[in-house]
Symmetry: C2
Subunit: 416 residues, 2 copies
C-alpha cells in the first residue's frame, strides 16, 4: 500500500519556502502504516497537476495533495481536480457555513468572494476545515483515494488529524510500521557500518537499519524500522534487536528517540544533584545556549561566562596573566584555570571551559585554525582534551560545543 504526497506551489519550486508539510505528512502516514513512495513538488498549473496525477495514480493507493486552494487567482487546484475527475463545481452550503462561522469569530462579514470559495466538486467527499476557509476534497476512483487540502501547515495538520487519517486507516487495511532510533556520538558512518556489519546481516528481512548522521552537530542516529501486521509482535522484535545493538556501541550511545546530548546531560546532572556553569571563549555562549534550550534547565544550570577577551579571562575567571603570557589563551593551562575559575565565580559543582581558534583568522603554525582546548571540571576533578578541527568558523563552534558536551556526559557516566 503506497502513498504519494503532491505539494503544489511555485513558492516551493523557487526555493522560497522549505517544504515542511511534506515531512510532517510523511511522518504521520508512516506511523499509521502507509509507506510514502514519493513526494512530488509541482507548480500551480493545470498541466503540472494533470501530469502529476497521471504519473502517480498507477503506483499509489493514496495520493495526498496540498496547496492551491486559496481565494486568489493563482489558486487553481480545485478547478483542476474537478476537471480531472470530470465533476461540476456547485455551491456547498456546509463549506459556506464554515466560512461564516470562522468570520464571525473575528467579527468580520463574509463577502461575495467567499461564495466562490464555497463551491465544491459535486461527487467528491467534502472535508470541512475548521481552521481555514478552504474545505478539503476526497476523490475515489477505482480503489484509489485522491485527497486535496490547503497548503497552510496549520490547516494541513488539522485536516490530516481529524478528517483524513482516521478514515484512511479504517478504509485501508494498512500494515504496521514501527521505528526505534538510537543516538550516538564518537564514530563516523563508515566505521559504524563496519562495526555493525554482522548485526545488520543478522537482522530479519522485515527489519531495516539506517544511518542518519547530523553533520552540523556531529552526532549520528541509527534507525531500526520494522514492518509487519501486529504492533505488539513488532515492538517485541524491535526491542530484542535494540538490546543487541546497544552493547555493540557501548558508551557512544547517549540516548534514544528524541534525546539530545543536552537533555541527557540534564538528566545526569539532576540525578547527581550537580549544578553546571560554563566558561566559553571560542564558542561564544553556544554551550550555555544548548543547555538552556532544554525546558527545565534551571534545575541544574546556574550561569555562564563568555570570556572572549584575554582581559575578561583574567578579570572574571581569575586566569593568571602569566598563564596567558607563557602558554597563550588557547592552551591546557588556560582552560584548566578557566574551568576552576568558573566553578568558583559561578558557584557550581561542574564547569565546562573551552578556548580555541575558530577562524578564519587568528591561527599560527603551532596553533592553526581549528585548534581547541576543552576542560571539564566536576567537583575537584578536572579533565582536559585538545581537539583539532577544520577551517570553517561556524562548524568549529558547533563541533566544539558538541565535543565539550559529550566529554561532560562521559565524565558524568564514569567513562573518562
Amino acid at each position: 500500500m503506497k502513498a504519494t504526497i503532491i505539494n503544489i506551489g511555485d513558492e516551493i519550486l523557487i526555493g522560497q519556502i522549505v517544504n515542511t508539510n511534506a515531512s510532517w505528512m510523511a511522518h504521520k502516514l508512516n506511523r499509521h502504516g502507509l509507506a510514502v513512495d514519493q513526494i512530488l513538488a509541482i507548480s500551480d498549473s493545470k498541466e503540472a497537476i494533470f501530469k502529476a496525477l497521471d504519473k502517480s495514480i498507477p503506483d499509489s493507493t493514496v495520493i495526498l495533495i496540498t496547496g492551491g486552494l486559496g481565494p486568489t487567482n493563482d489558486d487553481i487546484t480545485k478547478q483542476a481536480l474537478a476537471e480531472y475527475f470530470d465533476m461540476e463545481l456547485a455551491f456547498h452550503q456546509a463549506s459556506f457555513d464554515n466560512i461564516k462561522q470562522l468570520f464571525a469569530q473575528y467579527d468580520r462579514v463574509v463577502d461575495d468572494n467567499y461564495e466562490h470559495q464555497a463551491t465544491m466538486p459535486v461527487g467528491a467527499r467534502i472535508l470541512i476545515n475548521k481552521t481555514g476557509t478552504a474545505s478539503g476534497m476526497w476523490f475515489e476512483q477505482k480503489g484509489k483515494h485522491i485527497i486535496a487540502m490547503p497548503g497552510v501547515p496549520r490547516e494541513v495538520r488539522y485536516l490530516m488529524k481529524y478528517e483524513i487519517l482516521p478514515k484512511l486507516i479504517l478504509e485501508l487495511d494498512t500494515p504496521t510500521i514501527l521505528h526505534r532510533t538510537i543516538s550516538l556520538i564518537g564514530k563516523g558512518e563508515t566505521h559504524l557500518s563496519e562495526l555493525l556489519e554482522d548485526f545488520e546481516k543478522g537482522l530479519p528481512s522485515n527489519i531495516k537499519l539506517a544511518y542518519l548522521p547530523d553533520p552540523v552537530v556531529g552526532t549520528i542516529r541509527l534507525r531500526l524500522t520494522a514492518l509487519g501486521n501486529d504492533a505488539i509482535v513488532l515492538e517485541t522484535q524491535l526491542e530484542h534487536h535494540v538490546r543487541k545493538l546497544i552493547p555493540l556501541l557501548g558508551t557512544m550511545v547517549f540516548g534514544e528517540g528524541k534525546d539530545s546530548l543536552e537533555s541527557v546531560i540534564g538528566k545526569l546532572l539532576k540525578d547527581k544533584n550537580y549544578t553546571l556553569g560554563t566558561a566559553e571563549s571560542c564558542t561564544g555562549g553556544m554551550i550555555a545556549q544548548k543547555i538552556t534550550s532544554v525546558a527545565g534547565a534551571s534545575a541544574y544550570f546556574e550561569s555562564s561566562v563568555v570570556s572572549y577577551s584575554n582581559e575578561s579571562k583574567v578579570n572574571l575567571l581569575a586566569v593568571q596573566p602569566t598563564t596567558l603570557v607563557n602558554h597563550g589563551s588557547v592552551s591546557e593551562a588556560c582552560v584548566r584555570e578557566m574551568a576552576k575559575g568558573a566553578q568558583q565565580l559561578l558557584g557550581v559543582n561542574c564547569a565546562i571551559a573551552v578556548s580555541g581558534v575558530a577562524g578564519p583568522t587568528g591561527g599560527s603554525p603551532e596553533k592553526p585554525v581549528g585548534t581547541v582546548w576543552i576542560a571539564i571540571a566536576v567537583e575537584d576533578q578536572i579533565y582536559t582534551q585538545k581537539v583539532q578541527l577544520g577551517k570553517e568558523r561556524m562548524q568549529n563552534i558547533e563541533q566544539t560545543s558538541t565535543i565539550a558536551l559529550n566529554l561532560l556526559r562521559r565524565f558524568l557516566i564514569g567513562d573518562l
Copy 2:
C-alpha cells in the same frame, strides 16, 4: 529550460528530516536562470531511481540528484546510475586522492573500505568533493544533464557552488538574472506588501519583487530579480529601483546582501569605538553567540554573563535582592540593573540585558509565557522595552535575541 531535483533517501519519505536541500538548490537554480519544474523525493531503491529518471528525463534539461552516495549498504545511487547509463564502475585515482587528503587533515589513515568509495562510473564526469568522501557524477545523454551528489547539505552546497552551477551556466547559455536583496526587520509580510503596493506596480516587467521572511529569526529579505541579456544594463536598472525602495522602508532596513543584524551591529560598534557585553537570562547565551559568530567580533565584543538563576543575577550582576522580591526577575527594574551591572562587571560601554519567560512552564497570569523585558545600555543612557511573544520556547529565545539586537542597532543609529 527546465530542471528537476530528485532527492533520494528513505529519511525524507518517512518524514525524519525536512528536505532543506531541495529548497536551497531550487533557490540557486532559479537565481541562475534555471526554472525548477518539479522536486521529487524517492526511496533508496534501484527501482525508484530508474522510475524517477524515466519519468523526468523527457521533461527536463537538467536533473540534479542528491543522496545515497555514502559508504554504507543503504547507499545505492552510484550503482543504480551506473547501471541506468550502462557504465562500468572502476577505481578513480583523483577521488581516492581526495579521500586521502581529507583524512590526512584529521591524522587518519584511509582503509580499504574507501577504495570502494572511490570507484566511479567510467564515462561520467567526476566532480571532486573537497568537503566529503563521495565524489559527484555528471552524466550527459542526448543533450540532457543528469548530475548526482551526496545528500549532506554542506557537500551539496560545495558541489553546487564550485563544480555544478558555474559549468551548467556556461554549457546551457541561460539568460542573465541579477538579484539585489535588502534585509529589514519590524513589519510583517502583509503590512509590507501594502506599503510597497505602488512601488511594485511601478516595476518594469523584467523586474520582480519577492518577500523572503525568516520566521525563525524574525527578519524579512526583499529580493529584486532582474531578467535580461545584458548584465550592465540590469545592474543599472536594479540600482535605480533599490534606491527608490530603501527610503520607503526607512530604518527598518538594516542591510543589503549578506549583512546580518550582528554583522551590521559589529560595524556600528567598531565605527564608534564601543565595546559590547551581554547579560542574558532566558536567551541563555544566544545573543553572545550570534555576536561572536561574526569573524573579527573580538574587536568590539568583550564578554558576557548568562545569569540564569536569581542568585547569579545578584552575585554576578549586582541586581538588588529587593528588586527581585518586589518586581521579580522578569521586570523592567531587573533588566535595567542587569544591563548596568554588565557594563560594570564586563567593563564595556554597551550592554544588552534580557530576562523573560521562555516557556513552556514558568508563566503566571501577570507574566504569561512569552513575556520578555529587554534593556539596552549605551554609556550612561539606558532604554528598556517589554515584548509579548508566543508559547514556543525555542522561537521565544530566537525572537528575543533578534529583537534585542535590533534595539541595540536602532539605539546606535539614533532611532530610539
